[in-house]
Every structure is written in C-alpha cells, then in structure tokens.
Amino acid sequence: MVKKEMIAMLLAGGQGSRLGVLTSKVAKPAVAFGGKYRIIDFPLSNCINSGVDTVGVLTQYQPLRLNSHIGIGIPWDLDRNIGGVSVLPPYEKSENSEWYTGTANAIYQNLEYMESFNPEYILILSGDHIYKMDYEVMLDFHKANNADVTIAVMPVPMEEASRFGIMIADENKRITDFEEKPAHPRSNLASMGIYIFNWKTLKEAFLALKDQPNLDFGKHVIPYCHENDKPLYAYEFNGYWKDVGTLSSYWEANMELIDIVPEFNLYEEYWKIYTKSEIQPPQFFSKESKIERSIIGEGSEIYGEVYNSVIGCGVTIGAGTVVKDSIIMNQTTIGDNCELNKAIIAEETKIGNNVKLGVGEEAENDTAPHIYNHGLVTVGEKSFIPDGICVGKNSVVFGETTAADYEDGILASGKTLIKAGDE
C-alpha cells in the first residue's frame, strides 16, 4: 500500500488582483519573478529540496500558463512513479458541484487525492511567496511538540503587525490565541500561511465544517482546532520571506536580487531554485551596450544600456535605449532609443522605437490608485506600444495599442489604457 509520510497541498488558484494587469491572463503563482523564474518555483523547489515528493497543486483562476509550466514536474524532479506533482482543478460531482470557494474548501474537495497517499501529515502552502524554507525541519518541530497543527510564523515589526494574522504563543511556542489584523496586536508573530496538519485532525475538522460556506483555514479550520483543544504550535522562521502581493512589493523584491550580496541569494550551491527553462543560449552584449547592477536571463540580447534592472530570458533591448530600475519579463522586445524608468513590462510585449515610459510628474492613478502607485509604469503581457509614445508614471498599458490610442502620442501620468483582458 502506498504510504507517504507528508504530502504538500499548494494553493495556486488565486488571481492576485493587486498585481493589476500582470494577473489579467495568468494566475499569480505563474507571474515571472527574478529574471527567469515564476513565483510558484519557490514553494515547488522548497518541496523537493525538503524531501516532499508528492505535491497537489490546486488551480482555478486562469490555469493555462500554470499547467504548461508545471507539466509533469520535470524541472523540479517531481515526475515520480508514485506521487510527484498533480494539478488539481475543481471538478464536477454528481451533486453539489462548485468552484473552490475558500482555501480550506479547495483542500476539502480533494480529500480523496490526499487519502490515496495514506499520509501522516499534510503540508499546506500558498503559491505567492518568495522564500527558501526546509519543511522537514518544520515537520521535526511538529513531531517534537506532539502538535496537531503547526503554523509557520515570522516576527514582523510591531507597527506592521496589524496588517497580518497574528499568533500569540507561550514560552513553549504553543499557540494560546490568535487574531486577524488586530488594531492593537499582542504579539509580532505573523502567520505565513504555511501549515502542517496531522492528517487525522485535518480530516476530522473538514467533516465537522464541511457545510461552512467559503471554508477558510485562518477563519474556520484553525479556530475549530483551537476550540477543540488540539495542540497548536508556532514554528518561528527567521529567513527571507517576501509577500509579492502588490505591484510595489513585487517590484521591491525583484530589486533586492540585484544587491551586491542579496539577502535572498540565488547563487548558493545548495537549495537551488528550479524552473522550466525553454531558452538556453547565453546572453549577448553589443559593443555599445552598458550594464550595471542588473541580472539578466538566458538568450537576451542587449544593444542599449541597462541599470538596476531585472531582465528575463529572450529579451531584446535596442541600441540607444536606456533601461533603469525596471523589470522586463521573458521574450519582450524593446526598440531603439527608448527610455524606461521604473517600468514593469510583462512577457512577450513589443515596444517600438523612441518610446518613453515613466516620465514626467507623478499623478495618482485614475482607476485603481491602490494597485498602480509608487511611480511604476505597468505594461501587461503581449502588449504593443507603437513608436514615439510617451507614458507617464503610475500608468498602465495593456493590449495592442495604436498611435490613435494616445492623445498627441502621450499617455499622461496616472492614466489607464487597457485594450485586452477581462478588466
């Protein structure tokens, strides 16, 4: 009989709407990060590096890119005879067919998948954080404490604690209480959304709560376990962990990679991060090119100047173009004599010649100021910007635009120009 001590369930169904047009066409875990990676590469690599070789990936929102990225799991060595990676979308049942309505509901709907591996422990992960973590160490902590549930927590500055789910633990790290986004936090241990459950406890909780609408771990499952006196423990994690849920935090996390010795170091020999690499050739720099403080992916061709930027694979940057403080994702082409400042340009975009992005005075975005801020220019995937266009700050362009879409060839700061996608 198949027996896996611990299997992982990775929640990858969310849209991540605070990433704006970046997630119009792809789920947040499939968004590119750090030149050649996608966000989901980090939890998947953590799994295989921790010896967890059975991973169910729960997908729902725009799963195409995610599906083709994961495939049968070859890049992460998760193509296994027994276990390996399985993509788990919502499915029709003889009665009560529904989408995944909450984090715990998604897991509940795949009870049979988990049961088939006869596990002792279930590791719950989310696909939207950048970090390296050994889940085996967390499991050892879980076992040593005879815990039913272990929640990974990380100390945050007290003044920021009210933005998180906060765990209050005693000196033995046993959780005595918790509060969601408290106005006056009693502790600075923020939940990272990473849980280890005893399979028996989780199943029992699911059966008791199965009729709860929008079943959620933080709101329902954890409180249920606590109310029933199950031992809950907080596993403190002190490494690098970054939520890349907003455009500004996404941009910052990318920029941290280009520090001389980055806090999150991709160059360590052990604990490699794996990804699907379709493009293998080296990168080319022309005679006139200039480059400083940047990382660049495979097969890119640089004819212009690149400073403080993260460039993906297969990108072309034309002669005379100056790219500063920007993120350019895979297979994008930038023409000649352009100027890019604090731009985030998604995959397979084409930008013409003499285009200026991120110029002029800052102005608040007119449609979604909570998404498009910090002076960033965001361009969605497969977009086109014609020659000679000028785009201001806190602005968005998405879709194949023509010169007629820009008044006098200008998109002022804070303006939104969306010609594609659902939004």
Binding site: L266, Y274, S277, Q280, S286, K290, I296, E301
Partner: protein, 372 residues
C-alpha cells in the same frame, strides 16, 4: 523516422592540446552554454530519430555526466531512447574499440535488434544544424549505398586534418583521401553518413573478419569504386572544433548576429542539459561589450570580445579581452586575460596576467579557492 542514429564520440585528439586531457572532444563546451555533442544529438532529435547510440571510449567522464539523462534531447522514450555504449569485456572480446568500425562491430547487436531500415552515423565534434530527413531522401533518390555529407571549407582553411573528397558531376565520390599531406580539393567529409542498416551490418562484419577496424579507411575508401558512394554537399554553417584554433574561432563566430540567430532564434532549437542556474549578475564596475555571458556568472570587471561560459566569476578591475572563459572559472581581482582559453574550474589569483601574444594561449590554473 526510418533511421536510427549512431554518434561516434570515442576519439582522443592531440590537436586539442591540454583541453582534451580532461574530456573527450565531444564534451567540449561550445557557445557559452552547450557542449559539442548537443548539436548532433539535437539534430537527430529534431529529425525525429528516436533511437540513438553514443559510442564512447576516451576520457568519457564529462561526457557521461552530460548524458546522465536522455530527457534533455527528448530521447526519454519508451520507443527507442539514448544508449551510451562503452567497450565491454565479454566472453569473446577483451579489446578496446580499435577504430570506428570496430566500435560499431562490438555493438552490432544494437544494429541487429533495430528494425529501422537506415542508419545515420555522425560524429559529436561539429557545430551545425541539419535535417537528416533531407539527406535520407537524397540517399534514396540517388540509390546510393552510402551517402557522405560534405562541405567546402572556407578559403584559407587547410583541409589537412580532414578527409578530402572529389565528386563527379553526379555527386558520386571518385576520390577520398584521409588527412592528405597535400590536399587536392577543399571539399571535406563532415563525418556524417547515411547507410542502409543491413548494408552496414554486412560491411562491418566483413571488415572485422579481415581485421580492419576503421570506418573511413576500410569501408569508405576501400569500397569507393565498388559501392555507390555519394556526397551530399551542405551549404549551411558547419564547423569541426577538434583543433584549438578552430575551437576558438567557432566560439567567436557566435558573436556574429547571423550565427546567433541561426542557432538560437530559428526553429528548431539546439538542446542541452539543464543546469538550473540563476540569471547572470552584473555588479557595479561591470563593463561588457561584444561578448556572450552565460547564466550563473557574476561579473564585476571588463569583458570585451569574449565568450564567458557558465558560473564563472570575474572580479573587480579584471580585463578579459578576446578570450574564452570555460565553465566555473574564478578570476580574482585585477587580472588581465587576453587571447586565451581558460580551462574550466580554473582559479586565477588576483593580479595575474595571461596574454597569448603569438596565438591562443591555454590557461590551466589550479589554485586554492576560498570564496564562493
């Protein structure tokens, strides 16, 4: 595809100088992130050849490591796959491969057990893109017994280390000279042959019975007037790298846009083993021009007209000019390197100067490495 593939990857080569002390020529790193054998294997895979044998003998450590999985070239198949065949001591054989024909003879069961009617034989030390289906069609069209792919060497290149060919107007090979002292033609054999499987088995068995072991000398040249041996001239990019200067210039060819576009940005692709390396990183002080840099590198200094392979580190104030830096080289601060090939895993002390004043200099430095 109606053919199986055989890659002859066993040879040693003194023309590669110290570079072949470490590895077979087929495992030489090429163009920043590939190895020489990737080109032949990718061509076979892209031509839908599903079953490929790689015959190795000389110094195959690096090569075997590179071939650790067949999935990189899409050979991880239930039908067919990638077979690495090394000489083995058996009840009736205790010899190494005594030549290319002998290597095939010692693995004759691979040929006998296959059912595909044709065999494509190729070497693993050339840089090229080729659709073998076209050559097979040509072979059938000409009713040839053996088809030899050949190419005209560019002017100024000496054909002395190649097999030179002269064909008649129907492309039948009339003269074939192996490594001639004075070449009569600048058309050379690319080391790529198409032959019917049963024909090959018959010829190889006959040669073995006569104690003849070399495919070129004892089959191609010996049978050229008896069998229908045709040449197929390719006009596409083709380079053999089994000589230091040719190795250097082939790598430098990838600094040309047309060569890069042909190999890297034109379908089908060349595949290689995936190394899971992070993107290359350029710190303040980096100044890179007309160069190729591979993933995993960290650059702090100046790189001009050079090819830098994977996971190399270039320190502050270094100047690298017109050179090839192979995999995992650590170059400490204030070093100058000009006209050199730096062997992989070298560690170069701070302040060193290496210059190839009269030709390409090969640098092999084994110092203690402290950082990284």
């Amino acid at each position: 595809m109606r053919a199986i593939g055989i890659v002859l990857a066993g040879g040693s080569n003194h023309r590669m100088d110290v570079l072949s002390q470490k590895r077979a020529v087929c495992a030489m790193p090429i163009a920043g992130s590939y190895r020489s054998i990737d080109f032949t294997l990718s061509n076979m895979s892209n031509s839908h050849i599903q079953k490929v044998a790689v015959l190795t003998q000389y110094n195959a450590g690096s090569l075997n490591e590179h071939l650790n999985s067949s999935k990189w070239w899409d050979f991880g198949r239930k039908q067919g796959g990638l077979y690495v065949l090394t000489p083995a001591v058996t009840a009736d054989n205790s010899n190494w491969y005594r030549g290319t024909a002998d290597a095939i003879y010692q693995n004759l069961s691979f040929l006998k057990k296959s059912h595909e009617p044709y065999v494509v034989i190729a070497n693993g030390d050339c840089v090229y893109k080729m659709d073998f289906n076209k050559i097979l069609e040509y072979h059938i069209d000409k009713k040839a017994d053996i088809t030899v792919v050949c190419a005209d060497l560019p002017k100024g290149t000496s054909p002395e280390r190649y097999g030179t060919i002269r064909m008649n107007e129907e492309c039948r090979i009339e003269e074939f000279e192996e490594k001639p002292l004075k070449a009569k033609s600048n058309t050379v054999s690319c080391g790529i042959y198409v032959i019917r499987r049963r024909q090959l088995i018959e010829m190889i068995e006959k040669s073995a019975a006569e104690d003849r072991y070399d495919f070129v000398r004892d089959i191609l040249i010996r049978y050229k007037d008896v069998k229908r041996i045709y040449g197929y001239k390719t006009k596409d990019y083709w380079r053999n790298i089994a000589e230091v200067n040719d190795y250097f210039s082939t790598n430098m060819d990838f600094l040309k846009k047309d060569v890069r576009d042909y190999f890297f940005r034109t379908y089908p692709d060349i595949y290689s083993k995936v190394d899971d390396l992070p993107p290359a990183k350029y710190n303040p002080g980096a100044d890179v021009s007309n160069s190729l840099v591979s993933s995993g590198c960290i650059v702090n200094g100046t790189v001009e007209d050079s090819v830098v392979f994977k996971t190399s580190y270039i320190g502050n104030n270094c100047v690298i000019k017109n050179s090839i830096i192979l995999n995992d080289v650590y170059i400490a601060d204030n070093t100058t390197i000009e006209n050199c090939i730096v062997e992989s895993h070298s560690t170069i002390k701070a302040g060193s100067v290496f210059k190839g004043d009269d030709g390409i200099k090969i640098v092999v430095e084994r110092n203690e490495r402290y950082s990284i």
